[in-house]
């Protein structure tokens, strides 16, 4: 292990709070001086350049999927993020059918458009809204909630769950002795998990005897021998993965797209005028403020060296995709949102065997959501009296997004 005393002071002194407020300056220096670095405040390494993230994320001969300790504490085992080999194949095989692009195309318009319309109608005559709380998050959770079979769970409850799970998942800080810096930080996630089980257990009981077309019902039954279902304990950790990341991130992505476009009013207007450009606007936003900024990790099966840093077998390396997507080697002025930049592929959906299974679904949810918003409120404007604060190191997006328009 890299000893703490070898660590330069600027790395040794970084805190969770600073990372969550704005990780970019620190990571910019890491990319330049130490692309794979041990961060004492986290207790593990972070990969920060595109090249390092591609190597660690994409090379499954050496690297296995692994969840950070705080993530593991939040989700439990086995979840799709830290399962490997046949166990991972089994979980991917379970979640993938409803997320394949061809399958998504079959249902996504009918699923998402009415939801997006409903949430636009709820705000359009008010003349103002916090788009994060009143549009992006509700459209995101309702779309996935209905796909999973959680129609009976309100959107506000689904939002509350992902917020609570998120607090625990990113409660990564450790003390020098390896103990949690903030053990209380896991309490919201523990509460959410208990509540989720109380709500889902009866639904699972029903799906066992009455399968339907919901994703969770398929997770129980697909590929199982006649008369058998998957053990719910095998499902829950991955259900928690979905109820956090998959619920939260399309909302982050939609909100960041709007916030990014607001930094370039001419580009904002162009996208509102020509909905066909919404896809590209979303792609650039994922690069600009990657929703899963630094939340997934890998561990090496053998000793290896990446970007000059020796990593003994069993190291934990966090993939900071949000930093890789600002890599100066690939992007000029990376901290600027720019719809017109050459679309060099980004890493916002990760790499290798553990790359996001829901990337197409997520992008379609964002596209349809923004299409409906801009169609119904083409005179949407940023409320200049309110700051736009981005927050988060594990997951990142605008905290609030205040807009107003003439009614």
């Amino acid at each position: 292990m890299t000893a703490v005393h070898e660590t330069p002071a600027w790395i040794a002194e970084i805190t969770m709070a600073e990372l969550e407020r704005n990780p970019y300056p620190f990571y910019e220096r890491l990319r330049k001086e130490c692309p794979v670095a041990f961060i004492p405040a986290l207790g593990f390494h972070v990969a920060t350049t595109k090249e390092a993230c591609q190597e660690v994320g994409g090379n499954s001969d050496i690297w296995d999927g692994l969840i950070s300790p705080a993530g593991g504490r939040t989700f439990g085992h086995p979840n799709v993020l830290n399962a490997n080999g046949p166990e991972h194949d089994e979980l991917r095989g379970m979640v993938e059918p409803s997320l394949q692009p061809a399958e998504v195309n079959r249902y996504v318009e009918d699923l998402v458009r009415p939801i997006a319309r409903r949430y636009v109608e709820a705000i359009e005559d008010a003349g103002r809204a916090d788009l994060v709380a009143e549009f992006c998050e509700p459209v995101s959770v309702r779309s996935l909630g209905d796909l999973m079979g959680l129609q009976s769970v309100g959107s506000d409850k689904l939002r509350e769950w992902f917020h609570k799970l998120s607090v625990s998942f990113t409660n990564a800080g450790v003390l020098e002795n390896g103990d949690w810096a903030n053990p209380e930080g896991f309490r919201p996630g523990d509460e959410a998990r208990a509540e989720i089980r109380a709500v889902l257990d009866p639904l699972i009981d029903k799906w066992i005897v009455e399968p339907d077309d919901s994703a969770l019902s398929h997770w129980l039954h697909d590929g199982m021998p006649e008369g058998q279902v998957r053990d719910r304990e095998q499902l829950y950790p991955t259900v928690f993965v979905f109820l956090l990341g998959a619920m939260q991130e399309p909302g982050h992505a939609m909100a960041s797209t709007i916030a990014g476009l607001w930094t370039k009013p001419e580009q904002f207007e162009r996208v509102v005028d020509d909905p066909k450009q919404i896809r590209r606007a979303i792609t650039e936003s994922m690069r600009w403020t990657s929703p899963i900024w630094s939340a997934v990790a890998r561990t090496n099966k053998v000793d290896t060296t990446v970007a000059g840093t020796f990593l003994p077998a069993g190291s934990l390396v966090m993939l900071s995709y949000g930093s890789a997507n600002h890599d100066e080697n690939d992007y000029d002025a990376p901290s600027e949102y720019d719809l017109d930049r050459a679309p060099v592929p980004h890493l916002a959906f990760g790499a290798g065997k553990h790359a996001c299974a829901g990337s197409y679904f997520a992008s379609e949810v964002c596209r349809i959501g923004l299409e409906e918003l801009f169609e119904a409120i083409p005179n949407l404007e940023r409320d200049e009296n309110k700051e736009i604060d981005f927050w988060g190191w594990g997951f990142r997006g605008p905290v609030e997004l205040h807009a107003h328009w003439e009614v």
Binding site: E124, V272, E375, A376, P378, N379
Partner: protein, 349 residues
């Protein structure tokens, strides 16, 4: 002249394109419709991806096709000439939208009428040797005699008349086609080279949404064609036509529209003057529209005229919550826009 084969990836259509012929031109002549707008490199709506082969970008300006885009393999169909066989794919949707398209053709015509109808504005009627079928809202290009210069003018006649074109031309001081020809030596009986139809602006099929038409100056030309076609064929449930000018001297064809208004309860004509008090609407045409409608939800609009007016009109309609995909624009850009869009913009405003 050497020709190359050009193929569209998704549609599979293939055409032969001369080494000095724009790809757009080659396809339109075969009646294979490709998305486009201005045919002069200013609007960017004809962008396509060159998947295989090489093109000469011709006169494509940097502001419409950036260096990055060229490096990515994009080209403007209206400017790009093939240097080899090509496989291409337009960026815009080429799905069938139910609009009947007509092949591009070159026809010679004779000037049948040339009249002053408003301040600095002439009606130019051309009898064609052969018909040019078109859709209401489209335009033709006239070649300035003795030059290679082509200028765009929108048809004002309804598409039911294909052998006689009515054009409205506004005088541009120092302009090659207007100052140097149409307002100078042109006379009845002159022969004129005409190429068309071009453009995607207009009403090509029945629509459910009522429409607001906003015209500045000779932007009225395509609107006249649209109104005549829409009323004759019942294409649009209700139409409001706004025509903006500075003073009464800028307005024309008011009697035509007032007569139509008398016969069609679903058609409304609203001329607006920005620099003259009168018994009609006063103010910028866009401000008049803003005052007339409290909400434009569920409506569509067609805007045509100087680029600054078209942009202002679109803003106003969005303020009134019209869906941007239902706002259709035709900007009368000219050589000065091509040279330097930003300075031209400043001069106009």
């Amino acid at each position: 002249m050497a020709a190359h084969s050009v193929r569209l990836k998704t549609l599979g259509a293939e055409t032969l394109c001369g080494a000095d012929q724009p790809v757009l031109d080659a396809f339109l002549r075969e009646n294979v419709w490709l998305p486009h707008g201005c045919a002069q490199g200013t609007c960017g709506s004809c962008k396509l991806r060159v998947i295989e082969g090489e093109v000469d970008h011709g006169a494509a300006p940097e502001f419409t096709l950036t260096t990055d885009e060229r490096a990515e393999g994009l080209a403007l169909a209206c400017q790009a000439r093939p240097r080899s066989d090509l496989l291409v794919e337009p960026l815009a949707d080429i799905a069938d939208d139910g609009v009947v398209r007509h092949p591009l053709r070159d026809v010679v015509g004779t000037v049948a009428e040339l009249t002053d109808i408003a301040r600095g504005t002439r009606r130019l009627v051309i009898d064609l040797d052969e018909p040019i079928p078109f859709t209401a809202g489209q335009y033709v290009e006239l070649t300035v005699p003795g030059t290679e210069l082509r200028r765009q003018y929108s048809m004002a006649n309804p598409p039911s008349e294909t052998s006689r074109l009515e054009l409205h031309v506004r005088h541009t001081p120092g302009g090659a086609a207007t100052d140097g020809w149409i307002f100078a030596g042109m006379a009845v009986g002159d022969r004129v080279d005409v190429r068309g139809p071009l453009g995607v602006f207009g009403v090509g099929r029945p629509q459910d949404e009522p429409a607001i038409l906003i015209a500045g100056g000779t932007g009225l030309a395509p609107m006249k064609s649209i109104v005549l076609a829409a009323l004759a064929e019942g294409l649009v449930p209700e139409i409001w036509l706004y025509h903006g000018g500075r003073t009464e001297a800028d307005l024309y064809d008011g009697d035509v529209f007032r007569e139509l208004e008398g016969r069609h309860p679903d058609f409304h004509y609203r001329p607006c003057l920005s620099e003259q008090e009168w018994d009609g609407a006063s103010g910028l045409v866009t401000d008049v529209v803003l005052a007339d409608f409290t909400s434009c939800k569920g409506m569509s609009a067609y805007l045509c005229g100087p680029p600054a007016m078209v942009e202002a009109g679109a803003k106003v309609l969005k303020r009134r919550r019209m869906a941007p995909r239902l706002i259709f624009k035709e900007e009368f850009t000219d050589t000065s826009d091509l040279l330097s869009p930003s300075t031209a913009e400043e001069e106009r405003t």
